[in-house]
Symmetry: C2
Subunit: 250 residues, 2 copies
Amino acid sequence: MIGIVGGLGPYAGIDLLKKVYDNTIANSDQEHLNTVLVSMPSSINDRTEFLADKTIENPAVAIVEVLLLLEKIGVTFAGIPCNTAHSKEIFDVILTKLKEKKSMLNVLNMITETILFLNTNYPNIVRVGVLSTTGTYKSGIYSEPLKANGYKVILPTIEIQEELIHPAIYDSVFGIKTVSNPINPKAVKNLLQGVAFLKKNGAQAVILGCTEIPLAIPQKEIDGIVMIDATNVLARALINKYSPDKLKGL
Amino acid sequence: MIGIVGGLGPYAGIDLLKKVYDNTIANSDQEHLNTVLVSMPSSINDRTEFLADKTIENPAVAIVEVLLLLEKIGVTFAGIPCNTAHSKEIFDVILTKLKEKKSMLNVLNMITETILFLNTNYPNIVRVGVLSTTGTYKSGIYSEPLKANGYKVILPTIEIQEELIHPAIYDSVFGIKTVSNPINPKAVKNLLQGVAFLKKNGAQAVILGCTEIPLAIPQKEIDGIVMIDATNVLARALINKYSPDKLKGL
């Protein structure tokens, strides 16, 4: 089965599962792939909060519990739909703990897959913007591997990051993690201002590097700039590893 | 945990999970409830096909396998987001098989919950229309318990059922089970014609009695007629049994 660690946040888990179905070649219920989504959000500490102030338990511990549960019931390829959980401080701990438990589970790396996707499908793009949580922003989850792969990285200023982008996700009144049905227009507006800023500074593509962002920005392109939905990339990578014949064309 | 048997169809499973989250009082990821969705669609035969021609294996067998898996990993309350699977020929077999296996799992009955919901929240409504698959239509999954509870049931004619409603779900070109992202306008049009017919014949409310239908008709009311989304009712019932303090007001 394909496994998904849900709950980070809950709607991002659903979004990844839906994108697995959307990218599968299937004309009836029966032709879809076996999938399981386990969401135990109360036990998984906020990832950005952990990166900012490491006094709380590393969310890796609870994520590993879910991954081992997934493996126990037959999952072979798993995805974690949370970009911030892909920081070295969290993701490397996840991989180490799985190894200690002699786990054979393949946990896909959403960041690596996204850069590979960009490279393969947009070979002419060199200037890449990133929208994300402040946790992802400060720990360079996308910036570092993008630079290492020869990209020029364009980020919001720290003011735009903290006053527009992060609140679009986390604000207790209008943030996507609080209100997702429907998304508050202020969250959309903030993120679009972020896209406009990245465009003005030369971005040819923008990575939507937080799984909540594509819930507010479903467009594939804005003003001629390509939006790279990291959740959709992860969904396609999961299908491609588990059952490549079932992957829809782009 | 709250458990969901996915895959009947896959998008209906996601829809139920989303409605569980939508109806939960939560202001952060961590405040959401523990949930698991297992979708193993290839092993679960089509429910309507089984009811029409019982030569294929009863889908109850594969559904029970999923329910036992859910129980094994900690699920206490489970829902099956497929109305047709609630026919006596399938649902009673599920309950019997669970009993044989000494299962303690509480499997909610979506039909019973929907009638209870109607009764509690719309005490003045007496004439109720039903839109469903032909499997649900012919086996009286809603009609019989509605009548037993004193309702006057209004159904499409068999021609409307077979030429408009069932194809909206199953047609291999425009049916919701084939194309869900986005839903084909012809599926929406067929279903709205069904609603109009039921209204003309006196329905005060319409039960959307197939989990695919609310994907095409998300409205709560059409022309003054109340739409009862059985999936949303099941989501609310799951929260109410598992953690009543977390249930949002209507």
